[in-house]
């Protein structure tokens, strides 16, 4: 029994961390219409940043600042934000495809950099710091449960923050730009500035998810920042429903459950020679999920509630 519960806690922790990343993507894609083809780069920047800032100095590795945990996590988020700022500054003035290509490129370059740079751990990755407060809670089930609660609190905080942001005048501005850029511009708004803000904010949130992920495993390697993670995070958002934060979280749990279950089923029931191709089969499935949703239910399982106008809503 405790085994099942402890697995559920593990599953829920990872799914909650991914939910945070999906919420960040929802701010960019769902609310602002920005296409981020390199979610992993920002996720990875947060993960690597957190571990490098928070760990004590290690041989031949950059960092070793040994910052207190929360500061390191914050630093990781900032690094993700800086990467987003550079990419956004160069691309957000241009046609949308440039952002798609540049973000895809930044993910390729990021994975390439961490795989090759010995200062960043190279192909072996980085072993992180000791998990925070481990001495107080031990390393067992209690610790994992408390870490889950910590992640859950951050997920709720992110959720509430985004909900309020979307309801705020800034959120209205985001949707205005997404729907009709020229009209928004004619009212004196600066679309490229607003888009850059939203892009950075979303990427910082992805950085938070990455930092938590690295803390949870106390390890990060180039294997954790492969392009497939970007696809998974998208599939979660598209299935859940772009523009709807509740849908984003639901979509994450749904897709992550499907992904783990399919991986388990394939490793359990598939013949040995097929198992080599488990990855390929899962990738084809997730490709079909993305294409299928776009073809038959582009609004997702939980569509965005469109508010026509504030006065129409309150005035009835």
């Amino acid at each position: 029994m405790i085994g099942v519960i402890s697995y559920l806690v593990f599953f829920a922790t990872v799914a909650s961390i991914l939910s945070i990343a999906v919420l960040g993507l929802n701010l960019q894609w769902g609310n602002t219409g920005l296409f981020n083809g390199g979610v992993v780069a920002f996720f990875g920047a947060g993960a690597y940043g957190t571990l490098l800032l928070g760990s004590a100095s290690q041989d031949g590795l950059l960092g070793g600042f040994g910052l207190p945990y929360l500061l390191a996590l914050f630093g990781g988020m900032m690094i993700a934000g800086i990467v987003a700022w550079i990419v956004g500054l160069l691309t957000l003035r241009l046609r949308h495809d440039y952002l798609a290509i540049a973000t895809f490129g930044v993910a390729v370059a990021f994975e390439n950099l961490v795989r090759n740079a010995d200062l960043l751990g190279g192909a072996q990755g980085i072993r992180g710091f000791e998990r925070p407060l481990r001495d107080t809670f031990g390393n067992g089930f209690t610790y994992n449960l408390l870490f889950f609660v910590f992640v859950l609190i951050l997920l709720v905080l992110t959720y509430v923050f985004l909900e309020r942001l979307i309801a705020s005048p800034f959120g209205r501005l985001l949707r205005a730009i997404r729907e009709d850029e020229t009209a928004a511009q004619s009212l004196g708004k600066s679309p490229s500035r607003v888009r850059l803000t939203a892009f950075i904010a979303g990427s910082v949130i992805m950085g938070l998810a990455g930092g938590l992920y690295a803390t949870f495993y106390a390890f990060i390697s180039p294997q954790d920042v492969l392009p497939i993670l970007t696809f998974q995070i998208w599939a979660m958002l598209i299935v859940g429903g772009a523009g709807n934060n509740k849908g984003a979280v639901m979509g994450t749990f749904l897709i992550w459950a499907a992904w783990t279950a399919s991986g388990w089923a394939l490793s359990r029931f598939a013949p040995l020679e097929v198992q080599l191709y488990t990855g390929s089969i899962q990738f084809v499935l997730i490709g079909f999920v993305i294409v299928g949703m776009l073809l038959w239910r582009p609004q997702g399982l939980f569509p965005e509630k469109l508010v026509v106008s504030q006065s129409a809503k309150t005035g009835g």
Binding site: T91, R95, I101, F104, G105, A109, S280, V284, V291, L295
Partner: protein, 304 residues
């Protein structure tokens, strides 16, 4: 250094072929097609299948055309592969992109293209296996062109370069000398006006996929001939091809040709200063540099 230059030129010709189709589709349908590079993989594998088939049926065709490792069977397969890949591109458009397009949203198309790329790449992996394949098991020795500076060139590479340039020249003739070429350019410039002048837009889209797919297939086979064929070929080439279109300016066919050569040269010259592990990141740096200096590319024009 001179070796890097020559290698870069050879890789560049392959990238150019891939980038022409991509830039046409991107301009016409206004979306970044991340599945375009998978057409190169399809082309490479289709040629592999037909190469095997022809060699089995007519063993005489299996002989290599000296001094190349290219066989008569393979050269025939290239043409068939170009046709089949072009048709596959049309089919993919029919099945996915056209329907997504009808629902509106250019960005949904980008998502869809990622999904399509994922499906194609992994299905190829499932069919042909994950290990790399070669068209010919024969070892073809590189020719020492000069010893100082040291320069090695394989006959296949020379063939690839000449064939790629020939294909591009034919395309140039078609674009500049035929009614079809004029209509294509008209549609690229102003789709609405072109339609008013009696050009059938949906037929042009079909033709663009056919040409783009055909050129991609040739590029894929040439890549397989000079390197090897594997299911992740598309994944490795997608960024350099995009870089080529951005360097040339999205929508410019001649820009794509030049962009391909520039990206090929830059990627290979970068290896003079960078460790070779970093080469996949070079196209990204090129993209950043272009966006910084000349955001609309060499021949591109500003467009909302």
């Amino acid at each position: 250094m001179i070796q890097n230059l020559v290698d870069g030129f050879l890789v560049g010709s392959i990238l150019s072929l891939g980038a022409i189709g991509l830039t046409m589709a991107m301009h016409m349908l206004r979306f970044a097609n991340f599945s375009h590079a998978e057409l190169l993989s399809i082309g490479a594998y289709v040629a592999l299948v037909f190469d095997g088939l022809f060699s089995a049926i007519y063993p005489a065709l299996a002989g290599a055309i000296a001094p190349l490792s290219l066989t008569w069977a393979l050269s025939l397969s290239i043409l068939i592969s170009m046709a089949i890949t072009g048709i596959s591109a049309i089919l993919i458009d029919r099945l996915v992109f056209k329907r997504v397009r009808a629902k509106g949203g250019e960005l949904s198309m980008v998502f869809a293209s990622f999904g399509v790329a994922m499906i194609l790449r992994n299905i190829l992996g499932l069919i042909f296996g994950l290990d790399p394949k070669l068209y010919s098991q024969d070892i073809v020795f590189a020719i020492v062109v000069s010893r100082d500076p040291f320069l090695l060139v394989k006959p296949d590479q020379v063939f690839t370069l000449i064939a790629a340039l020939l294909i591009m020249f034919i395309l140039h003739l078609v674009l500049s000398r035929t009614t079809f070429g004029y209509s294509l350019r008209a549609v690229a410039e102003n789709p609405t006006l072109a339609q008013v002048s009696g050009i059938n837009l949906s037929r042009m889209i079909v033709l663009i996929w056919l040409i783009g797919g055909g050129l991609a297939a040739a590029a894929g086979v040439f890549y397989g001939l000079t390197n090897q064929i594997n299911p992740v070929l598309g994944r490795d080439l997608v960024l350099p091809i995009f870089a080529a279109t951005i360097v040339g300016g999205i929508g410019s066919i001649y820009g794509a040709v030049l962009g391909g050569f520039l990206v090929g040269l830059a990627s290979n010259l970068a290896l003079v200063i960078l460790p070779s592990g970093y080469s996949p990141a070079v196209p990204f740096l090129i993209i950043l540099a272009v966006l910084l200096i000349r955001p609309h590319g060499l021949f591109g024009e500003e467009r909302a």
